[in-house]
């Protein structure tokens, strides 16, 4: 029940806001932030009451009949893979709601869509029924079009359309996959735990695995289907970029894990050695493209492509260590990129109205908090020990090394380039000469500092005390790795 409450609270928040008159913008903001905070609380309750000694694979399980005619039920539950992501969603939406405080145009519609989107995201992470998961998945993807198209900037219509169409092509593949799975089981069940226990015939797994993996992979930013992602990030308003890079792309990676690898291990063993090549391109090429960008947001956008490449690479290597690293990297990258976009969008762009790296400079003098937060996120992104990114990427690299040493060595280039571009943007935005035009920018508000501070604290917390999460992740990843190793 506690897991369903995250979805219910978000949807309830959306419904409540719908009946508030549109002029009462502050009330709307408070309601949305309140709903987001409550959902975070429920997520944390679930996270901290997860029982590591329990024999159950999924805890907090709840089952309600929904469409018996299709063998589809409302089944939710959480394990060590999904709960960190549920918590991640909670933190990002709470901070995102705070960061979105300055949206004045159609505030009501904005928050309604934001909360619907978040309900979808929570839903995907907790669903244990494939059709339910897909319904939530679409619920998370579709509002994105309006959120970017209406409240975005820089080629927003193009970015919104491109993003939505790419993701919808992905979901078309997934839908085809679900129909095939549905028929293969005799139309009796789409319960993920039951599906995972069925051993599907080999030829079926060969056919279905790429459909599901690539379908979800589009949302994870898998090369060469990633181009929607930087364009969408740049066009989106700040809080939407945070949600989008922070959690939405994780839906894709999570879907790859739950909807493809877990259900079709035999297919995974055949296809993933090829897919890992794509992820290597993601990591290396993504970081190199980030290096040459002039637009501040594009740097972060491509850094997301590169880091998500690490996630999918960790999944594709299929070793216990790399899988656990991938899950932690999803969490770590979600928080880190949320912090990046908060600083880039809200601290810098909303005040200076430019994202051109050549025009920015010396901002450390006027917004030291922004500089410090960005540097913390940047260090996490580089994999600096003491921050969460280090733990995650180390595990991924060690895990990948066990299976594919060449891939691990190549992705080392990605890490080096990452350090280079992060240092480059830190230097050109926060240090050097402060342009005279920026001398009198409005100060950073307390609310903005809070939102950024929470995220930065999380990066440090997980960096110093990783077993808070890794114990639970390993607990769930071990059986999965055993399954995938066959």
């Amino acid at each position: 029940m506690v897991l369903s409450l995250t979805v219910i609270v978000s949807l309830l928040g959306a419904v409540l806001i719908m009946v508030v008159p549109p002029e009462r913008k502050n009330l709307i903001r408070k309601l949305a932030t309140g709903a987001a905070f409550l959902s975070l609380v429920f997520a944390l309750i679930a996270f901290f009451s997860y029982d590591l000694d329990s024999p159950d694979q999924f805890q907090f399980r709840q089952e309600l009949t929904w469409i018996p005619a299709l063998g589809v039920n409302y089944i939710v539950g959480g394990d060590g893979i999904s709960l960190p992501l549920v918590v991640l969603t909670g933190f990002i939406i709470f901070c995102g709601a705070l960061i979105a405080w300055n949206i004045e145009d159609r505030t009501k519609e904005f928050y309604v869509l934001l909360l619907i989107l978040v309900a979808g995201v929570y839903g995907v992470f907790i669903s244990l029924d494939l059709l339910l998961l897909f319904v939530f998945y679409e619920l998370a993807v579709v509002p994105m079009y309006l959120l970017i198209g209406v409240w975005g900037s820089t080629r927003k219509e193009y970015g919104a359309m491109k993003l939505t169409l790419y993701l919808m092509v992905g979901s078309a593949l997934i839908m085809l996959g679900i129909v095939l799975i549905f028929i293969q089981t005799g139309g009796e069940t789409l319960d993920l735990t039951k599906l995972a226990q069925m051993s599907f015939p080999r030829h079926f797994q060969m056919l279905i695995f790429p459909l599901m993996f690539l379908g979800f992979g589009v949302l994870a930013g898998l090369w060469p289907f990633h181009t929607w992602s930087p364009v969408g990030h740049v066009a989106a308003p700040t809080s939407v970029s945070m949600l989008h890079a922070g959690v939405l792309m994780k839906l894709g990676a999570y879907g790859c894990l739950r909807g493809a690898m877990w259900l079709f291990p035999e297919g995974a063993r055949v296809w993933l050695p090829w897919i890992i090549i794509l992820t290597t391109v993601n990591v290396v090429y993504g970081s190199m493209i980030a290096m040459v960008q002039r637009d501040f947001k594009f740097v972060i956008g491509y850094s997301s492509v590169s880091h998500m490449g690490f996630v999918v690479m960790g999944l594709s290597a299929m070793t216990e260590l790399s899988l656990a690293g991938a899950v932690l990297q999803m969490f770590s990258h979600g928080i880190m990129t949320g912090l990046f976009f908060a600083v880039v969008g809200r601290y810098v762009y909303d005040r200076t109205h430019t994202r051109d790296l050549t025009k920015l400079g010396g901002l450390m003098k006027i917004m030291p908090s922004g500089g410090v937060l960005f540097i913390i996120a940047g260090l996490a992104s580089m994999g600096m020990p003491g921050l969460s990114g280090f733990i995650a990427e180390l595990q991924i690299l060690m895990g990948v090394w066990q299976a594919y040493p060449v891939v691990a060595a190549l992705s080392g280039i990605g890490i080096l380039v990452t350090a280079a571009y992060i240092l480059r943007v830190i230097h050109s935005v926060f240090f050097g000469e402060l342009p005279a035009a920026f001398a009198n920018l409005p100060p950073i508000t307390l609310m903005e500092k809070c939102a950024g501070g929470v995220l930065a604290a999380l990066l440090i917390l997980i960096g110093l005390y990783p077993s808070l999460m890794t114990r639970m992740i390993f607990h769930s990843v071990q059986p999965l790795a055993a399954l995938l190793q066959g």
Partner: protein, 500 residues
């Protein structure tokens, strides 16, 4: 069979006829000199009253024992009964959205024709005999031709009606020709008789009997027109664009529902022996193969051409051509799940269309046109209306949790089901899924117009109560049946049991 029982079973239809006459007499004797809006309102309310009574009787009829009259010319069973009720509901929604209109002075004739068309659809649904089906198809078609031309001041309305009628006449000829071949060969006109006679024919091999093949193909061509499936869709865009909006809505909903049901019954109960197969690499001549081709062409052509449309009515016309393609997938799956999915799909689809045209009607009244540009800024001008439209459009796009999603899911599942081992119909389903991804583009364009583009004239849109109610009812229904489809699905499934 005695006439008293027949009268009892026909009570809802008798009420429809009586209401039509009552409306005509009322206008002639009492309301002739009243102002136009008042006549629309009073006569419309009378029509609504009659429809409500008919609906109540039709609902009651669902609980009576199944019965059959005149050698299957009139078959009352749960399947036919529930769809008769749905037709009455559709006619009521159409009447509801006509209430604030004032495009014609022939008010009573307008409402009477709506009722007569509904009557034709009722008989189409109840009839399981070729001649009766043909007669009721014509009653519907002729009423709709006349309704299309009702906006006499607008040239395009006349043009639309003439195109509709010319295409209709041609398709009638095809249909009648096809029926006459089948009937002449077998000496049967009832679907059950046709089925058994054709089974013995088919035992001798389909290929040997070109006459049967010709008959079936002509029949499909005739129905292809009624369903607006490519390549028989030529009339649809012009007719949709030219007809008064409530009539467009009627053509896109009621007449489609009835035509799909009757086409499914003819093919499934009348011609099962000639089904053939559309499986990849395993095709056999038969109507499923022909339908697969029609369906594939409709989906691709409908969705691609829709992208180019500037007029929302035309866009929805092409979208309806594409949807005819999807629905046909459920039919040519030729199994029980397919029939269930077809029934579910047409109900949801009819409601979605009525809702979308109702919203369009409100916007057209305010902006003076129904092009994409007229939708601009609807999200600012009336948030409620735009929200309704978003839900309707997303349902058409097959996005969960709207009904359109479950409908598509079921149709695709049904098509793959009979041959789960080798996925013989996967080619068609993959095509449908791909076409649907394309379709999303133009549905998003509607969202873009409403929310992203700023309005040229930012006045608030006044919401006429009746039309808004109709649209809201449709939206609630597709949301409810999209999120909780269980009861509807279970009922439709038990009803389609008779056909398999």
């Amino acid at each position: 069979m005695d006439y008293l029982t027949l009268t009892k079973y026909l009570a809802p239809e008798i009420v429809l006829v009586l209401t039509a006459f009552a409306v005509l007499m009322l206008d002639l004797n009492v309301l002739r000199r009243e102002p136009l809006p008042r006549r629309f309102a009073v006569l419309g309310s009378t029509t609504l009253g009659g429809l409500a009574l008919a609906a109540a009787l039709a609902l009651w009829r669902l609980y009576w024992d199944p019965a059959s009259f005149f050698a299957d010319t009139f078959v009352v069973d749960p399947l036919n009964g529930i769809f008769a009720l749905i037709i009455i509901a559709i006619a009521a929604l159409i009447t509801l959205i006509s209430l604030p209109e004032k495009f014609t002075v022939h008010v009573s004739e307008y409402y009477a024709l709506i009722l007569f068309a509904a009557l034709g659809m009722e008989f189409m649904i109840f009839a399981e005999e070729l001649i009766m089906i043909f007669v009721s198809l014509e009653l519907t078609a002729i009423s709709l031709f006349a309704l299309t031309a009702f906006d006499r001041a607008a040239r395009r309305s006349i043009e639309a009606a003439i195109k509709y009628m010319l295409f209709g006449a041609l398709s009638t000829a095809f249909l009648l020709f096809g029926m006459s071949y089948l009937c002449g060969l077998t000496g049967q006109t009832s679907l059950a008789g046709l089925s058994s006679a054709l089974t013995s024919y088919a035992a001798g091999g389909w290929g040997e009997s070109a006459i049967v093949a010709l008959g079936v193909l002509l029949l499909l061509a005739g129905f292809g027109y009624k369903l607006a499936a490519a390549p028989f869709h030529g009339w649809a865009p012009d007719t949709f664009e030219g007809a008064p909006l409530p009539v467009t809505s009627y053509i896109a909903s009621g007449s489609k529902v009835a035509a799909f049901l009757v086409a499914a019954k003819i093919l499934i109960t009348g011609l099962p022996a000639l089904s053939g197969s559309a499986l990849w690499g395993n095709g056999e001549p038969g109507w499923t193969l022909a339908l697969a081709a029609i369906s594939a062409v409709s989906m691709v052509l409908g969705n691609l051409v829709a992208i180019l449309q500037k007029n929302v009515k035309r866009l929805l016309a092409y979208s309806s051509i594409a949807h005819a393609g999807y629905i046909l997938v459920g039919l040519l799956a030729f199994n029980r799940l397919g029939m269930t999915s077809l029934l579910y799909y047409i109900v949801i689809y009819a409601l979605t269309n009525i809702g979308a045209f109702a919203v369009l009607q409100i916007i057209a009244k305010e902006s003076g046109g129904e092009t994409m540009a007229d939708l601009a800024g609807a999200g600012r001008r009336s948030p409620l209306l735009a929200l309704l439209m978003v839900i309707l459009v997303l349902s058409l796009a097959g996005v969960p949790p709207m009904g359109g999603f479950i409908a598509k899911f079921l149709v695709f599942a049904a098509a793959i089901k009979p041959d789960a081992a080798s996925f013989g119909l996967l080619w068609l389903v993959a095509l449908a899924v791909a076409a649907n991804a394309v379709a999303l583009y133009y549905y998003l364009l509607i969202l873009k117009q409403m929310y992203i583009i700023e309005p040229a004239n930012p006045t608030r849109i006044k919401l006429p109560r009746t039309v808004t109610t109709a649209a809201a009812l449709c939206v609630l229904a597709i949301l409810y049946w999209g999120i909780f489809p269980q009861r509807l699905l279970a009922q439709l499934e038990s009803m389609s049991a008779r056909l398999f």
